[in-house]
Structure formats: structure tokens, C-alpha cells
Symmetry: C2
Subunit: 135 residues, 2 copies
């Protein structure tokens, strides 16, 4: 686009090979896996340490077996989560973050804790918004 005269301020997203704002960029898919309804909570839960399937399921309150399985597959495929299966009976499988996954989870948790801390503001904004329309 503009590779000769871009200032340092513009460079940030001017000539990156991957730009999430363009329709066909694969980074959108990753972002959706990582920030999706279950993806963000799964990464957040695993940040504290490795967990087995059912422990994870209890930690991510409300996730179904199917969705957790699907989410873990996507995150494993993207290289954010590592699956460690032991061939014992009963079976034991541990999930843990990869180094890359840790970095993503860190940023995600920063966001999560931030919004948790500001929920009262959000709730108030919602009430104001709703009150203004139901007249």
C-alpha cells in the first residue's frame, strides 16, 4: 500500500503482512478462536495451570462437553494449547497452554479483569440506554 513514506506512527498497521481488518486475513480466524465465547474462557482457565478435560469443564461454567471439545481442538490446531494424553485406564488427558498460548491468555486475562472491574459502569450505561428508549 504505502511502503516508502509511512511514518513510524502509521507503520504499525500500514504494511504488516497480516491485517485483521481485511476480510480474508487468516488472523481473523485465530482472533475468533481465541476471543470467542468459549475460547477466551478456556485460555483463561488454563492460564492458572494445566487441567484435565472434566476439570476444565467445571471451571468454564456452562460449557457443554461438545463445545469444550470443539474449542480445544481449534486451540490445539492453532498452537495455543497442548494436549497431553496418557495411555492409562481410566484415560487421563491434560491440557496446557503453549508458550504462545500463554502470551495470548495473558492479554486476554488483562482484558477480562479490566471489564470485570468496570461492570458497574457498564450496567449503569445499559440502564440509562434502556430507560431512554422505553418512553
Amino acid at each position: 500500500m504505502d511502503q516508502s513514506t509511512a511514518s513510524p506512527e502509521e507503520r504499525q498497521d500500514a504494511d504488516l503482512p497480516f491485517d485483521v481488518f481485511s476480510k480474508r486475513c487468516p488472523s481473523r480466524g485465530l482472533l475468533e478462536h481465541a476471543t470467542g465465547r468459549w475460547g477466551s474462557l478456556t485460555l483463561g482457565a488454563l492460564y492458572e495451570g494445566s487441567l484435565r478435560f472434566n476439570a476444565l469443564r467445571r471451571r468454564v461454567d456452562g460449557v457443554s462437553e461438545k463445545m469444550l471439545s470443539q474449542t480445544l481442538h481449534a486451540l490445539e490446531r492453532d498452537g495455543l494449547v497442548h494436549r497431553e494424553a496418557q495411555l492409562v485406564n481410566p484415560p487421563r488427558v491434560d491440557y496446557e497452554l503453549t508458550p504462545l498460548g500463554r502470551e495470548v491468555a495473558e492479554r486476554l486475562l488483562g482484558l477480562i479483569h479490566f471489564v470485570e472491574g468496570r461492570m458497574s459502569e457498564v450496567l449503569a450505561a445499559r440502564e440509562r440506554y434502556d430507560a431512554a428508549r422505553e418512553v
Copy 2:
């Protein structure tokens, strides 16, 4: 805000009133609005400055009129985006981040730029994963 005796390290998520990991916490809804497919891109686009509806639509490549409208309503209701309408003809409406929205967008952009920068690792992980199963 900090009226308990929790240490600074624990305070963050030890006794917060809002916990995104529990099923019925309203912070989940906010997180989904902010990190959803179009929410994150909309907030990211508005971080650079206020934009009009159609400019925003062009910036968030691929978003439909309907989804952008819906996304903006949700973000406005949550108090992350401010809608400024001028009663002129043709109509002119500007969207901009609220102070709270800026803080969310900042963290979101941190994540976005991070994943953009690591996409090659992710793509490689995906190839490895796919190659391992199609045997």
C-alpha cells in the same frame, strides 16, 4: 474500591463481585460484545478516531450494514461507544469511543497486534496439526 484486606496480588480476581467464569455473570455478555467477530474490529477501528457509519463500514472490511448497526447498538448500550447525530440533511452521524471504550479498545488492539505478529507460527502449527491427521 479496595476496602478489604486482600493483598494487591490477590485483589485482582480473588473477591471481585463480577466473575466471568460463572455462567450468569453479566460480564460475559460485555466480553462477547467487545470481543465478538465485529465488536473487536469496530472498537479497533474507532480507536484511531471518530468515524461515520459508512466510513466505519469500509474500514471493517466485510461487515454488512445490518451487523454493523447491530454491533454499534450493543456497544453504545454497554457504554463503550458514543453516537453523535447531527440533524442535518443529508444526515450525519459520528461514532466515537467513550473513555471506557478507549481502555477496552487499547487492550483489544494489544491482542490484535500480537496475534497479527505471530500468525506465521499459528499457520505452521495448523499445517503440522492437519498433516498429522490426514495420514
